[in-house]
């Protein structure tokens, strides 16, 4: 079974809960109402029944008193005197079993032609004669038909021992009471001598609330019942039931609606969070996480997620920077528990250390390479100067002393001079002795002199070196600066087509500043033909931990170099 979506799940449970609650409440309420109603109705019926019984008994008592006090031959046409035989006949005709004592009231209804209530009162006058009176039951009928507080369907009626009605059915007032037979639960109980209440079908077969009681009065043996139709009594109950069902349905709908919106309010941020987490799991941290409009706790959740994202993103960004060897990048770990952040920082430190070490090694290598190169040049220059130089000059002297024809002598001398100049030039190019003896400031004077002599380039040189105080500036730095200047002049001569060069060397306490400017056509920094010379200059400045700035445009080239003086 697939897991239900949160929205559906919440809707179902919330609806179910509210419906069950309302239903249970309704049922209890309904039950309580029903019980109260039943009790009340039965109580009312009982009191009505009791009143009727009292009234009937009072009435019977009165007519019995009248009958006994009245003279036998009175004006009452229904009264007459009969003897014992007549009485027997009457009893046989009417199916009456006169009990002893005979005096009393008897029910004549089964024998009346109309089927209406009719009574027979008998009293003995002497041992042979009896006063007899027929008495109509209309008054009793009236008492029973008085229906105050009995609603639409309430009625009180009398039933005889033969289960036939003695009083009128209010539902069928045209029919003789006796034609109805009421062998009902209540009648049976009452005939058994019990009084009580109950709900059962009446003589019509209709369910009624009923209160029943026997009435026994001077041979009369009746049952009085006060009843009311269940349908009428329970009409409000039905109405209540309908309303309760309506309420249940309404509540159900309301619950579904509310739970739908609530579930939406909950599930929407949850789905949003799921999508954010999905993105982040897929490595996409370029997402915006807003707290949203939901409840406070969910907002806080999103803020926390946003913080998480920001910190991961920060770590990623930082590791990217480290990956690209941007070691100056900074990063603030979130706290002592931010293992990732701390490892990244450690990594950066290691890289920086490694990088620095490598850089130092590189510089040291380059420096030792440069120094080695200069040393080798110096050695070669010395060889030339000390070895070849004297030989050539000696040779020249010898030739001058020899007896040779003058033109021949001159020719040889010229040749030798050229050789000597050439060797001198080579020596100078390799390593000017003056550089070692006088320092760069003065050595450059000669260098610029030679440039002036050999080209049209006009070199203005200002030497502000403290040549008298060579301390602090080692030979390597002198050579380095000299080489840089050589390289710059070479570039100008070869490529710039310049007329003027302005050059200065200035020594400060902590550095030597070199300024070089030509009015040539400049160059583009990335052009290949200057690459070698510039690369050399850059390398030399770097090896000596100096500062270099090159600016070139169509008005010329401007180069600044600063080499620090070691404080030892």
């Amino acid at each position: 079974m697939p897991r239900p979506k949160i929205r559906l799940w919440m809707s179902i449970w919330m609806s179910l809960l509210s419906v069950v609650l309302v239903t249970v409440l309704s049922v209890f309420f309904y039950r309580a109402f029903q019980t109260a109603l039943n009790e009340r109705v039965l109580l009312q019926l009982t009191s009505v029944k009791r009143l009727k019984k009292v009234q009937i008994e009072a009435y019977l008592n009165r007519i019995w008193e009248d009958f006994t006090n009245e003279p036998v031959d009175g004006p009452n046409p229904n009264s007459f005197v009969i003897d014992a035989d007549q009485l027997d006949t009457l009893g046989r005709n009417a199916g009456l079993a006169f009990q002893s004592p005979v005096a009393g009231i008897y029910d004549l209804t089964p024998y009346s032609d109309s089927g209406a209530l009719s009574l027979l009162l008998i009293r003995p006058l002497d041992s042979l004669q009896y006063a007899v009176r027929r008495h109509p039951g209309a008054a009793i009928q009236r008492i029973l038909l008085e229906r105050t507080g009995m609603g639409e369907s309430g009625e009180s009626y009398l039933v005889g021992r033969d289960y036939h009605l003695r009083s009128l059915s209010r539902f069928f007032p045209e029919q003789a009471p006796y034609s109805f037979r009421a062998e009902t639960e209540g009648v049976k109980q009452a005939l058994a001598g019990k009084q009580g209440t109950g709900i059962f079908p009446d003589y019509r077969g209709v369910m009624v609330y009923s209160s029943y009681q026997p009435i026994q009065f001077k041979h009369l043996n009746w049952v009085i019942l006060s009843e009311m139709d269940v349908e009428e009594v329970q009409a409000p109950l039905l109405e209540l039931k309908r309303q309760l069902v309506a309420i249940v349905i309404f509540v159900l709908l309301l619950a579904i609606l509310i739970s739908y919106f609530m579930a939406r309010a909950f599930s929407k941020p949850i789905l949003r969070m799921r999508s954010h987490l999905h993105d982040m799991a897929a490595g996409n941290y370029d997402i915006t996480i807003s707290p949203g409009k939901g409840p406070k706790e969910l907002g806080a959740l999103f803020t926390a997620l946003g913080d998480l994202k920001a910190s991961i993103k920060g770590a990623i960004h930082f590791s990217q920077q480290i990956g690209q060897m941007e070691l100056s990048a900074d990063f603030e770990p979130l706290g002592d528990n931010d293992k990732l952040g701390h490892s990244l920082l450690k990594m950066r430190e290691q890289l920086i250390r490694y990088h620095q070490l490598q850089e130092q090694n590189n510089l040291a290598n380059q420096k030792s390479f440069l120094n080695g190169q200069e040393k080798e040049r110096s050695r070669l220059a010395k060889e030339l100067h000390d070895g070849l130089g004297p030989l050539l000059t000696s040779l020249k002297l010898s030739i001058q002393s020899t007896d040779l024809p003058a033109p021949r002598k001159t020719q040889l001398k010229q040749l030798l001079d050229e050789m000597i100049v050439e060797v001198r030039r080579m020596t100078y190019d390799l390593m000017p002795q003056a550089l070692l003896d006088f320092g760069v400031g003065k050595a450059v004077v000669h260098l610029t002199e030679m440039v002036r002599k050999s080209s049209k380039l006009n070199v203005h040189y200002v030497n502000s070196m403290k040549d008298d105080d060579p301390a602090g500036l080692d030979t390597e730095t002198h050579i380095n600066l000299f080489r840089i200047i050589q390289e710059l002049l070479n570039n100008t001569l070869k490529h710039a087509q310049a007329e003027n060069v302005r050059l200065s060397l200035t020594q400060f306490d902590d550095k030597v500043a070199l300024y070089y400017q030509d009015d040539g056509k400049g160059f583009k920094l990335d052009e290949v033909q200057y690459g070698y010379g510039l690369k050399n200059i850059k390398e030399r400045v770097k090896v000596f931990n100096g500062y270099l700035s090159i600016h070139a445009d169509e008005h010329g080239t401007e180069v600044e170099v600063e080499i620090p003086i070691k404080d030892e």
Partner: protein, 211 residues
């Protein structure tokens, strides 16, 4: 006329011999000694007679040419020396001249030049190689004395500052970078113990540095 007494000091035997051969073609030269280094020259001067002229090499093992010139200037003022060197760099000429040399020749100098130089120096004149003598004076002119506290360049910057030049204008005028100008200025602020340019000019005026 007495002969010109000459001593040759050079660590190269061949060169000494060549030079001697050349000189001895002329009878008015008398070669007193041909020595390989400074020590033996000093020893010779101490023990034997002084030459009129010493032809001196600069680069020699042991006591070098400059050192020899200093000693001569101190102890043998009458002896005039001509430096014969491979170096054509004017710095060497200046240094030699300062150290007391009367002449400076390149080693491949022609016989005529050599003779001219010896005669001139013998007469008490000075002789420097034509090519390089011009440079010598140029170089000497650069060796002006520097004010005690501020360097020459700093004084220049100071003047320009007083004239109201911008850093860029100064840089162009002085062939130095704006960075260097700033360094000069910062150094002057430090040296004169002031805080800004205005104070610097004021203090410089008080010290008559701008006059």
């Amino acid at each position: 006329m007495s002969k010109i007494k000459i001593a040759i000091v050079d660590d190269h035997q061949l060169f000494r011999d060549g030079l001697a051969g050349l000189l001895l073609k002329h009878e008015y030269f008398e070669l007193l000694a041909s020595l390989p280094d400074g020590e033996s020259l000093l020893q010779f001067l101490e023990e034997r007679e002084s030459p009129d002229i010493i032809l001196l090499d600069l680069t020699m093992p042991g006591l070098g040419g400059f050192e020899v010139l200093k000693r001569l200037k101190k102890h043998y003022k009458k002896i005039r020396s001509i430096v014969i060197s491979m170096h054509e760099d004017g710095n060497y000429i200046v240094k030699c001249a300062k150290a007391g040399a009367y002449g400076y020749l390149l080693k491949n100098a022609d016989e005529d030049e050599l003779l001219t130089a010896i005669h001139k120096v013998y007469r008490g004149e000075r002789y420097y190689n034509d090519d390089i003598s011009a440079r010598m004076f140029q170089n000497l002119s650069l060796q002006q004395s520097i004010p005690e506290k501020l360097t020459k360049r700093e004084i220049e910057v100071l003047h320009h500052l007083a004239e109201g030049l911008t850093t860029k204008e100064m840089a162009e005028k002085m062939f130095i970078s704006t960075r260097t100008i700033e360094t000069h200025r910062a150094n002057m602020l430090k040296k004169l113990d002031v805080k800004n340019t205005a104070e610097l000019i004021k203090r410089a005026t008080q010290l008559h540095l701008l006059s």
